[in-house]
Amino acid sequence: MLEIKNLYANVEQKEILKGLNLNVNAGEVHAIMGPNGSGKSTLSQVLAGNDAYSVTKGAISYQDKDLLDMSTEERAREGIFLAFQYPVEIPGVSNLQFMRTAINNIRQHRGLDEMNAAEFMKQAKATIQQVNLDPSFLKRGVNEGFSGGEKKRNEIMQMLMLEPRLAILDETDSGLDIDALKVVADGVNALRSPDRAIIMVTHYQRLLDYIVPDYVHVLANGQIIKSGGKELALELEDKGYGWLGIADEKTA
């Protein structure tokens, strides 16, 4: 489904990705770990099409199409979903209105009719309860006044409503209590299917106890330096990144 070949990308004139290679097939769950500053978030943003990041070399093909040739909205409509690490607030635009507009845009792209209001409300109410958020959150502005954990659960709710083909979770587990982590994991696991792929970018091993990955990759200095199965995550947790010979760059 996704083939990344020799990807180089930079942001604010600093080169972050330095020849990254990754293949993800439908039905697979991949975890990407790495120290601060290694390029984990950059990878997510580049896949989503954030134009603050420039790709200087390399190719990405998604479902046999050139991903780099597609705009952000196109990629979304083709089924790519990014759960943001730091979801932004949009006051004045309700979660309901936002979701409805997003869903209908994607449905239109797929040649489907718009979802009617009653059907949409029903689905929205069911999904919001699935992520343990009160239905009253639907009327509030997007992420407006939400705590960190609530924002992350809202991302998962949107993911469940939009049913993407490739879901990229950018540190969705960071800042979550155990209870919220379970809710997120349940949501992601509910999405697992043979025609869907999931990439989890994570900084903490704990998530992988709940969403068991097929593959674990270590991203350091802009490249994937080691790949393995789920045991790799446990070794990392135990031994730290120094074991692979990489330093943990402190952020800010």
Partner: protein
Amino acid sequence: MTVLSNIDFAIQASKDLGAELQDFSQTKLEKLKSIRIPTRKTESWKYSAKRLKLTETYPQSSSTNTVNEIDNGYELDCHVIIFNNTQLSLNELGETGMTIKPFSDLNEAQSLQVVSGAIAQSNSYEFAIANSAYLQNGIYINVAKNTHINKPVKLVFLQTGEGVNFPRVFFNIESGSSITIIEEIHIQANNSPSTLVNSVCDINIEANAKAQYLRMNFDDGKSKHVGATGVNLHRDARFESYHLALGSELARHDLLVKMLGSGAECQLNGVCITQDKQHYANHTVVEHIAPNCTSDETYRCIADNEA
């Protein structure tokens, strides 16, 4: 009598502490010599200074027997640590993953953690500097990685009768773990003007860990207590505080939160009630140092009569 070091609190820095902590308290004692006793011209003491009424000397705190239980009208099963005047009592307590040690038992690395606390590092808080200058035996609590501490840890700062009590606490919450901390101040001063509780609590919350902090005071409404709480928040760490502040003769709390790592979050809540001629001063400072951190503050203050 203009500088704080001139006040004789009748306590000295302990010689039982390790070298790092002794150096630390020495430095703060030197600093204390340049700290002016707050007057109404001291900006952050503008409305509080006249209530300070520090006496030149304070009597020795009476050493009472170890107190094992404190009744404060609510039922909650906690790990309890009591700072009784100048005595310290740790009951049989502990949970797997939690280590509790007096300052005198700390190794070098742990001592340096204490020194790097937010309040410890700051030179803005007059009474916190005094607490550091006369550092005696504090309590160090460490929570191991990915551990959830089930029972709250309750710290009781107890002062009966005259004298001062300078309690000192340091929490190190390791990555992925969580804990609830309760601080209670109990003062039975029996109308003594020479009573003062001056507490410092520093909390270091590592990546993706969480601490809930509750602070309350129970006294006769005519006492004097000041306190400072400092919090270092690392990447994705969370801090929630709940402060029930009941007015007294002089009551002040300084809360300093430093958001050092991205994704950190803090929620500071408080209810402050003052009546008659009481006083309470709440000062909060939140430093947004790393990007993508969020902070929320909600304090509701109710003032009646001439409070």
